[in-house]
């Protein structure tokens, strides 16, 4: 099983940017266009890595550390997540707290790097990012608590391995809540629009305006890894009760991951961005859903 975990990690590290191109292809399909080539994300990463770095003189070591820490923390966090019944590389009781902290660390450094530039726009993006994640994080943690209560397990691996079909209604709620959190944390519509270039409405994109070259490549790669990471948690909920074989789980899980990317593409093609003032309510809804799930599980 540990070998499967290594395979999963390798697939994740390699295929994560591909999720973006699936999303873009789906959106292009709905827009009646051909869309960028499949390997476009990789080409962009390569291009950026070959460029030089331009850093403002007013920035400090924080600005340099931001992309590196965020990529490192996200990759580390990836070692903690199972894909269905494929175990995580590292599993111990309470590891989901570490997961949340690693994601938090990555975010902290991204936000700090944005603030380090001293630009008003980036500060605004940082503030929005922090506000939204402050609302999304309780939902994420509560979702883990629901699963932990339902399965009586305390590590992510055990939790997904023991997830049965009898959880029924509560699992549906958790899935929906995790989907909302997934969209929000990955800066997708309806929370944030990755294609927008209007600074006033951007959240994630505005934070990385001053990054360039390899720095920017690292940030893009970290974002792709984060999408994969949250995606595994999301698809693990419907996947693990039905598939108990490790290999099948890996195969189906990766397929499901790309299906999830298609779903994101569909959502992005069919819905509009929410007004910024409505965002707290949207994330509150996710929290409420997990709370109800907890109520159902405990009752």
């Amino acid at each position: 099983m540990q070998a499967l975990a290594l395979v999963h990690l390798a697939v994740a590290l390699l295929a994560a940017p591909l999720l973006l191109s699936v999303i873009n292809k789906t959106k292009a399909f709905f827009g009646g266009r051909q869309g960028p080539p499949w390997l476009q994300p990789y080409r962009e990463l390569t291009k950026l890595l070959h460029k030089g770095v331009a850093r403002s003189r007013s920035t400090s070591w924080v600005f340099v550390a931001g992309p590196i820490v965020s990529v490192a923390a996200t990759a580390l966090a990836l070692c903690l997540v199972p894909l269905g019944v494929v175990p995580a590389l590292v599993a111990f009781p309470g590891d989901f707290v570490l997961l949340a902290y690693l994601l938090g660390l990555a975010r902290f450094f991204t936000v700090s790097a944005a603030l380090d530039t001293g630009s008003a726009f980036e500060g605004m993006g940082a503030s929005r990012e922090v506000q939204l994640s402050a609302l999304a994080e309780p939902g994420l943690l509560l979702a883990f608590v629901v699963l932990a209560v339902a399965t009586q397990a305390l590590s992510l691996t055990g939790l997904f391995a023991r997830l049965g079909t009898d959880g029924g209604p509560a699992l549906v709620l958790v899935f929906v809540a995790l989907l909302v959190i997934f969209l929000s944390e990955n800066s997708r519509i309806p929370v944030d629009d990755p294609n927008t270039h209007l600074e006033l409405t951007m959240i994630h994109e505005v934070m990385i305006l001053d990054h360039s070259g390899p720095d920017l490549a690292l940030i893009h790669y970290a974002a792709a890894l984060k999408m994969w990471l949250l995606g595994t948690l999301l698809i693990g909920v419907p996947l693990s009760p039905w598939v108990s074989d490790g290999f099948a789980s890996l195969l189906l899980g990766v397929l499901a991951m790309f299906a999830l990317a298609v779903l994101v593409g569909v959502i992005e093609s069919s819905t509009a961005r929410l007004r910024l003032t409505r965002l707290p309510q949207w994330l509150l809804a996710a929290f409420v859903l997990t709370a109800v799930a907890l109520f159902v599980v405990m009752g």
Binding site: G168, P169, A170, L173, P280, Q281, L284, A285, V288, L289, A291, V292, F295, V296, M298, G299
Partner: protein, 224 residues
């Protein structure tokens, strides 16, 4: 399993009612709640189904899921001054309040000795629905929302009755349902009158009667 699912839908409907900002959507949510409630007796009953239970279920489905919402929608259409909910307590705060009450109901329900093993969730959800109804009556400005709150309150009591009070005679249950229908009907009629008299179904305008301010009488004409 199906009972649990229905109960969960009821909880979600309550939260939607607490957090919803459009009157029409809230009415639809209450109707949805009525439909779920109408179907609930079928999930609890043992097979083969007692025709009485089926009939009662159909009747409540008809009244709660169709009759009352149609009445309220009509009231809204004819009084279409403001279709946004006007909360006294803000919507987000209402939602958080709902969560707190949900926890409270869970605690309350777990402490009561219950006669049947219908569902451990039954009593908490019934109490939660009841509290949601009471909250809507108190914390919303429009008269229509107050009727909606009353309806939700009744739904909570109905849920409690379906799950736990099996000894109610048939005729009484029908009487209770009909009374509810007539009650909301009378409230609906009153709403029309309020709308005509005040040009808004805003219960804030209904605040002339109190003790301290003396109404200035005119010495010219009798009222009686």
């Amino acid at each position: 399993m199906w009972t649990e699912f229905a109960l969960m839908l009821l909880v979600l409907a309550n939260l939607r009612l607490l957090g919803g900002s459009r009157l029409l959507a809230c009415i639809s949510t209450a109707a949805f709640q009525g439909v779920v409630l109408g179907l609930l007796p079928l999930t609890v009953a043992s097979w083969p189904l007692d025709p009485r239970i089926v009939l009662l279920s159909l009747l409540s489905l008809l009244i709660k899921g169709w009759g009352l919402p149609v009445l309220l929608r009509k009231a809204l259409r004819e009084t279409s001054v403001n279709r946004e909910i006007q909360p006294i307590v803000s919507l987000n705060l209402s939602l958080l309040f709902g969560l707190a009450v949900l926890a409270l109901s869970g605690w309350l329900g777990s402490r009561l000795p219950l006669p049947t093993s219908a569902s451990a969730l039954g009593a908490p959800v019934a109490f939660f629905t009841l509290f949601t109804g009471l909250f809507l009556v108190v914390a919303r400005r429009q008269a229509l929302t107050q009727v909606l709150g009353y309806l939700v309150l009744e739904n909570g009591i109905f849920l409690f009755g379906v799950l736990f009070a099996h000894s109610t005679p048939w005729i009484v249950e029908v009487g209770v349902l009909l009374d509810l229908l007539v009650g909301v009907f009378v409230m609906g009629i009153t709403l029309f009158h309020i709308n005509r008299a005040f040009d808004a179904i805003d219960s804030d305008r209904l605040a002339q009667l109190h003790d301290l301010a003396v109404q200035r009488p005119s010495p010219t004409e009798p009222t009686e």
